[in-house]
Symmetry: C2
Subunit: 230 residues, 2 copies
Amino acid sequence: MSEPDPTDPYAPMRRGFVEETTTAEEIDRMRAVVGPLAASTRELVDAVIRSEVPLEELESVRKEIDQLVERLRAQQLPGSYGVRIDASGRHRAWGNPAVGLRNPLAPPLEVHREADGSAWAETVLGAAYEGPPGMVHGGISALFLDQLVGEAAASAGKPGMTGSLKLRYVAPTPLGPIRFEAKAERVDGIKSIVKGRSLVQGRVCVEAEAIMILPRWARDLEETTGVGDA
Amino acid sequence: MSEPDPTDPYAPMRRGFVEETTTAEEIDRMRAVVGPLAASTRELVDAVIRSEVPLEELESVRKEIDQLVERLRAQQLPGSYGVRIDASGRHRAWGNPAVGLRNPLAPPLEVHREADGSAWAETVLGAAYEGPPGMVHGGISALFLDQLVGEAAASAGKPGMTGSLKLRYVAPTPLGPIRFEAKAERVDGIKSIVKGRSLVQGRVCVEAEAIMILPRWARDLEETTGVGDA
């Protein structure tokens, strides 16, 4: 095993791909508990934004939340969740803010990857994602489209990290049901060009074009762990 | 008062700028309660991602969260928060996922606008914002840079909505302390060109360039409410 290079900016990333001995059954048991826990916390996020109960009641609720935080923190990871790889080689990016099962910031998007190098997800975006009144924040569209272009590149067999992302806001995006989709258009060595868009009721709201690049550390890592598929 | 146009996609946005009779003192009292409530909920979000307590304890916490949601929802806004304008003309975008005081998804960024048409914010990004292990999700950088370019345009006296946004990921972005900054470079009628970037320990991670456009509805609205400054 080689010495870690302290000047290597990717070192924490490599360390964050954690291989575990967890079995598929254990993962399923965890999923059945942390999924609903994150879902309830999403409801809490929405309620914190929209509640109109008296201030004393808000204060009382805050104190209860602080106690729950203390209970959860009784044992916790020293840092972020990372990407966990179970005994069967499956990846869990459960902390991801777009698709993470246990991240209350994520809707979470359930991304479907197709054999033709495309990916899509449908969800409903509520109060927590609002930018202009009644509309999805432009940066939230960017967040989910960035995730989708990455999934499409992986789906096309050329996983990578976003090198560049261009977004064109062609129409306002109302809160509510929305579809995100992306497709790898062209693969050129370690680069792939991926186009994506968001649609509301069949109308295009935001268009995206990304250049995805697989960095060297990931090309090395991919050979041993299949990490590019995370 | 003119009839609402049912085909107008901006109609919900216009309705979402709510003028209130709330006084500055009432706002301050609300801020002192909902700020800490959202802050505690952010801690909960982080703890939900990182907790390693037994599954039975996670289930027990989930039930408590469900009860808190019920208490908060006893009285609530019918929809999203929108942008509220108090009696003194100040705007509150408290539901915003980048800067919103009462949105637990937002760090929240505290954006400083300078007289020279620039804007900046410094914050610390933790587990909830993770994409690649140990790194900030590329879409999260996009979310906050989108907010910053909008603030810079407003700071330059040309508020607008994002027409296009180009992002270039020049270096990986580790979780932790981070700075976002943006500056309006050029104003051309209703368009302004704004450049932005994120930095970690003085090193540029992501570069952004945006074209901001003030749509017609907002130009009309600006004259009556100063809404462009929201």
